[in-house]
């Protein structure tokens, strides 16, 4: 006979405000097999957990149902508490009274009734729970870091410095990411490249880091500790071992008018190119779409001039398979492009540019060598307007969120402009100034008070050209929405930070979740900000949401320590939620008839054939067998098996059947 304990949590008032917790506990106490039932203010607190532990010991409980928040939140907590009191952790189940009941329904009898039902389902389920032991799996102590921006660089270095191997892949020809494009950084105005490039070099030279640029993830299989990743190394049309990086090819290449991605289209590059002088690795790639040879079938000037014969026109993409134990995703973000802002004339007027383009103009390594000159005619703008929230916080545009970094970089841009263009006038249109961060608010005040940047609170309705000037029509909401019209020479849009194109496909390859904006989803918004819902895969930087540099770096270090923690173990324990083929006494051995149709249902190739032989070595039975190391516990085979010969621990036929029966018999 089961002796089940039911523990109903008030969660402060989160549950008890709409659910009559005492009634839930009282009702549950009357169920067959329930030996103890109680409600308590905070079940997850120390005294709450002690309540469970002492009840297990004193009442000799054989099963526990904690009726509180989502099991996705606290299942590990309560299972651990049970284990500490000597009860197998898998004898503990949770009824979700908070997320699925008290928070979504009004106070009333119906809500309490529902809470009672939810508890009853789990009480009946737990009667069919079995003690399970965790599964041990080995750990491959190599990490894969995807994305070589500042977050990926930091994560790689931090992991590598703990003594573990790292494979860093970057889809562009060089690592560095957006940070390498920036001129100076807020709130200190130190030069971005000056602080970044030493780290880039460190990555390239680190004995524990293997760097593959121009490479992308092709596919991923496996699970925490034991991933198998296929990496596509895109052809650089170059033998990297022979190339010395002398750069002769890039000076002789006849295709010279290709917009430079690094300079955000404000500068030009050749078809064989190194994206920027400090690139790591500092070796060129051929952009096949723009290369004369690949277009017309002749040219090969780079091959002719190369002193080491390193050019390889016939080189193909390589697919490489690596085994890794953990993955850090640091693929960053992108900014909204011209077609998004027809009302601002972006794309139509060359002097309406993005914040990233302004970074290139302000950068000493940029197309104007750090002088603020407008793209149309190279003149120094005497009046410049900065628009915050270009796209951000605009539900009509589908981007209701705040891109977070813009307020700060706009202040920086305006400040840089004032420093570089003496006598120039700068204006910032903003909705709110969001300068939460160490020394951030002070930085913005400096821009306004010391550098004389004109901040106007209000939005801009449109921008149009008149007599060679960009007319910015806005309103000042602090002056009763008084119309403001500024004749500007140049306009900079703080365009919304958005998820990379292809983020969705990458998430699907990795089997991780993403939010409605296609940013990758963390496992918990507060307590698991660098974890994903897929064990062993972590997030760093702006692939999760718009992030500034310090945040990206902090996240990267956080992800790195998670990886290092994982790698500090030789074996991992995995939840024993796996499928099992039943065994019966000879001569039947199993109800499995060996049709093996289940093999193709398994997403993990975890089902194999098992042959049972007699003493003479003759096969007397063929049946399916689940490899516990490969099974991930989806149960797709379980629902498919005609004879119900496969069952899944934790979600068995009996448990699920019982849940349905228990629910509806009384509901």
């Amino acid at each position: 006979m089961s002796k089940i304990g039911v523990f109903v949590c008030h969660c402060g008032e989160n549950i008890s405000a709409t659910v009559d917790c005492a009634k839930v506990a009282e009702t549950a106490g009357n169920y067959d097999g329930v030996a103890y039932s109680v409600d308590y203010k905070y079940m997850c607190s120390d005294p709450g957990q002690n309540l469970i532990k002492s009840a297990i010991k004193e009442k000799g409980l054989t099963g526990v149902v904690v009726a509180s928040c989502s099991p996705r939140m606290h299942e590990p907590t309560f299972r651990k508490a049970c284990a500490e009191a000597g009860l197998n952790p898998f004898m503990c189940e949770m009824a979700n009274l908070r997320e699925h009941c008290s928070w979504v329904h009004e106070k009333g009898e119906a809500t309490t009734e529902k809470a009672i039902d939810l508890v009853r389902i789990l009480v009946e389920k737990v009667k069919y729970n079995h003690s399970l032991s965790e599964i041990k799996v080995p750990v491959t102590k190599t990490a894969l870091v995807i994305g070589g921006g500042i977050a990926g660089i930091q994560a790689s270095l931090d992991i590598a410095n703990t003594g573990h191997k790292v494979i860093l892949i970057e889809r562009d020809p060089s690592i560095g990411g957006h940070m390498s494009q920036l001129s100076e950084t807020f709130p200190t105005l130190d030069c971005s490249q000056c602080i970044l490039t030493p780290r880039m070099v460190e990555v390239a030279q680190h004995p524990n880091i293997t760097l593959y640029t121009y490479a992308e993830l092709e596919s991923l299989e496996g699970f925490i500790g034991n991933f198998k990743a296929k990496i596509r190394r895109k052809s650089k049309s170059l033998d990297e071992k022979l190339c010395t990086g002398c750069g002769l090819c890039t000076t002789k290449c006849p295709a010279k008018k290709i917009p430079s991605e690094f300079n955000e289209g404000l500068g030009k590059r050749t078809a064989i190119y190194v994206p920027f002088p400090q690139a790591v690795p500092n070796k060129p790639v051929i952009d096949r779409i723009n290369c004369t040879y690949y277009i017309k079938g002749k040219c090969k000037i780079c091959e002719i001039v190369c002193p080491t014969g390193a050019i390889r026109f016939d080189q193909e993409d390589q697919i490489m398979e690596v085994e890794v134990g953990a993955i850090v995703i640091a693929t960053g973000f992108t900014v909204k492009q011209p077609d998004f802002f027809p009302e601002y004339g972006f794309g139509k007027y060359p002097d309406v540019i993005t914040g990233l383009q302004f970074e290139r103009l302000a950068s000493a390594s940029g197309p104007t060598l750090g002088e603020i000159r407008r793209p149309s005619d190279g003149k120094i703008p005497e009046k410049i307007v900065f628009l915050a929230c270009a796209g951000s916080r605009d539900p009509a545009k589908g981007i209701p969120y705040c891109s977070k970094i813009c307020c700060m970089y706009i202040a920086k841009h305006a400040m840089l402009y004032q420093h570089k263009v003496h006598g120039g006038k700068s204006y910032v249109f903003y909705m709110d100034i969001r300068a939460g961060g160490k020394m951030y608010e002070e930085f913005v005040r400096r821009a306004i008070e010391d550098d004389g940047v004109n901040y106007i609170r209000g939005r801009v309705s449109r921008i149009y050209e008149k007599n060679g000037k960009l007319i910015v029509d806005g309103a000042d909401t602090l002056l009763n929405a008084m119309p403001v019209e500024i004749e500007a020479d140049m306009v900079v849009l703080a365009t919304a930070g958005v998820a990379n194109e292809g983020a969705e496909e990458l998430a699907q390859k990795l089997h991780i979740s993403y939010d409605p904006y296609k940013f990758f989803a963390e496992a918990h918004p507060k307590l698991k900000p660098v974890e994903t819902n897929t064990a062993g895969i972590f997030l760093a930087g702006a692939c999760q949401a718009p992030r500034d540099i310090p945040e990206s770096v902090a996240m990267a270090s956080g992800a790195a320590v998670k990886v290092a923690g994982l790698f500090s173990q030789d074996e991992l324990t995995r939840e024993p939620i796996i499928a099992v083929v039943n065994r019966q006494a000879p001569p039947v051995y199993s109800s499995c008839v060996g049709c093996f149709l289940c093999i193709s249902t398994c997403p993990y190739q975890a089902i194999e054939k098992e042959e049972i032989k007699n003493r003479n070595g003759e096969v007397i039975k063929s049946m399916a067998k689940v490899n516990p190391g490969l099974c991930q516990g989806c149960g797709t085979c379980v629902a498919f098996c005609r004879t119900k010969s496969i069952d899944i621990q934790g979600y068995t036929h009996e448990q699920m059947y019982t849940e349905v029966m228990a629910l509806l018999n009384e509901y």
């Binding site: 989502s70 099991p71 996705r72 939140m73 979700n96 908070r98 997320e99 699925h100 009941c101 928070w103 979504v104 329904h105 009004e106 119906a110 809500t111 009734e113 529902k114 039902d117 939810l118 389902i121 998430a507 699907q508 089997h511 979740s513 993403y514 939010d515 409605p516 989803a521 819902n533 897929t534 939620i577 249902t601 997403p603 993990y604 991930q632 516990g633 989806c634 149960g635 797709t636 379980v638 629902a639 498919f640 899944i648 934790g650 979600y651 036929h653 699920m656 059947y657 849940e659 349905v660 029966m661 629910l663 509806l664 018999n665 509901y667």
Partner: protein, 149 residues
Amino acid sequence: MAEFEPKIVAFVCNWCTYAGADLTGTSRIKYASNVRIIRFPCTGRIDYMLLLKAFDEGADGIIVSGCHPNDCHYTSGNFHARRRWIMFRSLCDFTGIDTERIKFSWVSAAEGAKWADIVNATVASVRELGPYTEYKKVAKYPEKEVSHG
């Protein structure tokens, strides 16, 4: 007589819809309290027999929900499920089972609002359809009537 309150059972996967319903909670979006969620690891685990059992035992409506195509935590459990649903639903329809009472949906972990909409829509449509008396009539086999005397 009080208004008919349909009994709705939801079979959902742990990774998308269960998490999505959690998000409905964290977002404090209110929805009809008629639904009871039963958690499965994956839509691939949801046995079609359980749907029949739910009707047997008196459910008026059923929600079956999991990850959107391509989003399955287990890569392809939902693809397998979808193929099975296509055939199972058709067979139910062919045998005269009211397929209007089974709502299939994809609700991701980010779609808290969608979950509330799905529940509300199902409750509203099943309320309109009324209690599933046809099924309940055949489901009342003798020993059950005795036990409920």
